[in-house]
């Protein structure tokens, strides 16, 4: 059975609604109240999801107790000349190396060599403390622990992907992009250092 013809723009859905269907405005007309409710409800939902997402993302960042365990004191008298002590700091190895005159001289001599990450040896230790090289023992390539004594530059060598560091911990060859990082540290006395 054919429905009776209806005038254009009038309602076909139900006869309980009086007047123009609010959704039937032509494009270009001002948004009406129903559009406003749609947009506002949608925006509120998106906003709420976004606001709730952040706590669920941020919970994976370091917690307050992890951040609190950030510094360590070390007694330098334990390290003999030419020796290296590795301690754990923030979960990573920390190299505390007491360099020989020959190692320091080799590092200074290479200050103007072709360095991928240019830095002078003096920039990598505290003034007047050239003997003490304190480094984060984490290869700047993918975080393996380099070993001292390997490699072609008298310093560290990373066994994972073959990065060579010199006696100043500067990257010389291999895939690592940066020198071994120097942590924030200070000498509390001639024999004690505070890292972090």
């Amino acid at each position: 059975m054919e429905p009776p013809p209806q005038p254009k723009g009038s309602l076909k859905v139900a006869d309980t609604v009086v007047g123009e269907n609010p959704d039937h405005h032509a494009s270009g007309e001002d948004p009406n109240r129903r559009d406003f409710i749609h947009i506002a409800a949608g925006a509120a939902a998106v906003g709420a999801v976004g606001a709730l997402a952040w706590p669920f993302i941020d919970q994976m960042n370091p917690s307050a107790d992890t951040l609190a365990l950030a510094s360590v004191d070390f007694d330098l008298t334990k390290v003999a000349l030419g020796q290296q002590v590795t301690i754990k700091w923030r979960g990573k190895p920390l190299f505390i190396r007491r360099r020989t005159e020959a190692e320091i001289a080799a590092a200074v001599a290479d200050d103007n060599a072709n360095l991928p990450d240019p830095q002078t040896d003096a920039e990598r230790h505290k003034p007047g403390k050239a003997e003490w090289m304190i480094l984060i023992g984490s290869c700047t390539h993918l975080g393996c622990v380099p070993t001292f004594g390997g490699g072609d530059f008298g310093g560290w060598f990373c066994p994972c992907h073959g990065s060579h560091y010199d006696t100043s911990g500067r990257i010389r060859r291999g895939p690592a992009p940066l020198n071994l990082a120097v942590p924030d540290y200070e000498f509390l006395s001639d024999t004690t250092v505070k890292v972090g």
């Binding site: 992890t66 979960g91 393996c144 070993t147």
Partner: protein
Amino acid sequence: MSGHSTYEPKTGVERWLDTRLPIIRLGWDSVVDYPTPKNLNYWWTFGGILAVCLMIQIVTGVVLAMHYVPHIDHAFASVERIMRDVNYGWLVRYMHANGASMFFIAVYIHMFRGLYYGSYKAPREVLWILGCIIYLLMMATAFMGYVLPWGQMSFHGAVVITNLFGALPIVGEAITTWLWGGFAVDNATLNRFFSLHFLLPFMIAGVVGLHIWALHVPGNNNPTGVNVKSKADTVPFHPYYTVKDGFAIVLFLILFASFLFYNPNALGHADNYIPANPLVTPSHIVPEWYFLPFYAILRAVPDKLGGVILMFGAIAVLFVLPWLDTSKVRSMRYRPTGKLYFLIFVLACLVLGYCGGQLPDNHVIPGLSTFTLIDADLNSMVWLSRLATLYYFGYFLVILPLLGLTETPLPQPESISTPVLSHPASTPAGATAAPEKKG
């Protein structure tokens, strides 16, 4: 799942349920009366094998989680306790560890099958992409699972992989700190890896559901790559393929059992029986065998960010493969040139896997030093990796797009039934199959 359903409820209870939750109908249409091409070979049994692998991993994994302790001070010892003290703990753990390797063996065969027979081409692009998502989820799951025993390889593998994200400019360091939940791989990292390792298999199961749904809409591809033309081209899934898949599953489980009972540590690494020590990296760290090709690609590039991009790119390229291959012919069976390039591609993948397990400076031909090209001897694993990496990407980005436009494929059969039924008039010149009496 699609098309006309042939299920007829026979009892009152079935009729009652069918109008409320047609789950028996779903099962009937999916695995009993599902029309399947009648020419599927044994390469097609790996889908069923993979479903079995997933179930084994979930069941053994849930059991292991009852005994494992996700804490850096207890994880290693709890795994050893599972091996020594928990009743049949050794069996369940070896099933889980070797099961992961079996899972990857099966998934690689399944993927190469899809590549060879053009199963990624229209109308199965979404099916293929869902498969790629499953593969990515599998890799994430396997990686995090390998970290849990907290051995030396676990720990330093986690360090290396999480540091990959540090290669990203600007946000890299923030992302690695976020992944670790600290300043290094530590207890927070182990805890979240355990949580996610438990979650991801169920996500895999969910995507597998979508994968099967997307399979049952266009139906199976088949070795000829020719569309199913009529009912004569298909047989019902049950009993034909339930039995064929079942037989293949039994053969596969024999292989599984031979590793499980005779050489359960063959695919692992001895260093992972040393408790994790953040201060010493093992002298030769390698990932599990199934990641070696990607590891070789990573190491082939002398630049950190470049290596990471290429490694992830090796997986990303699979997602767009349906639009890279320009050939209208699905099956490599009718693409003699394409078949050759495909076989070299398989070889390149195997070479990459081999290189990934070697030290970069090792010689390919022992004892022969040639000359240094750029940064390494030409006769070194790193140059072999570069060559294979080049072919890997070349296959997807150059060969498949161009070959489809230039090659002359062999004539394809008119239908699946044509090459096996004796129709002398319509048998194409390329089809050499002998006439099959039984049809």
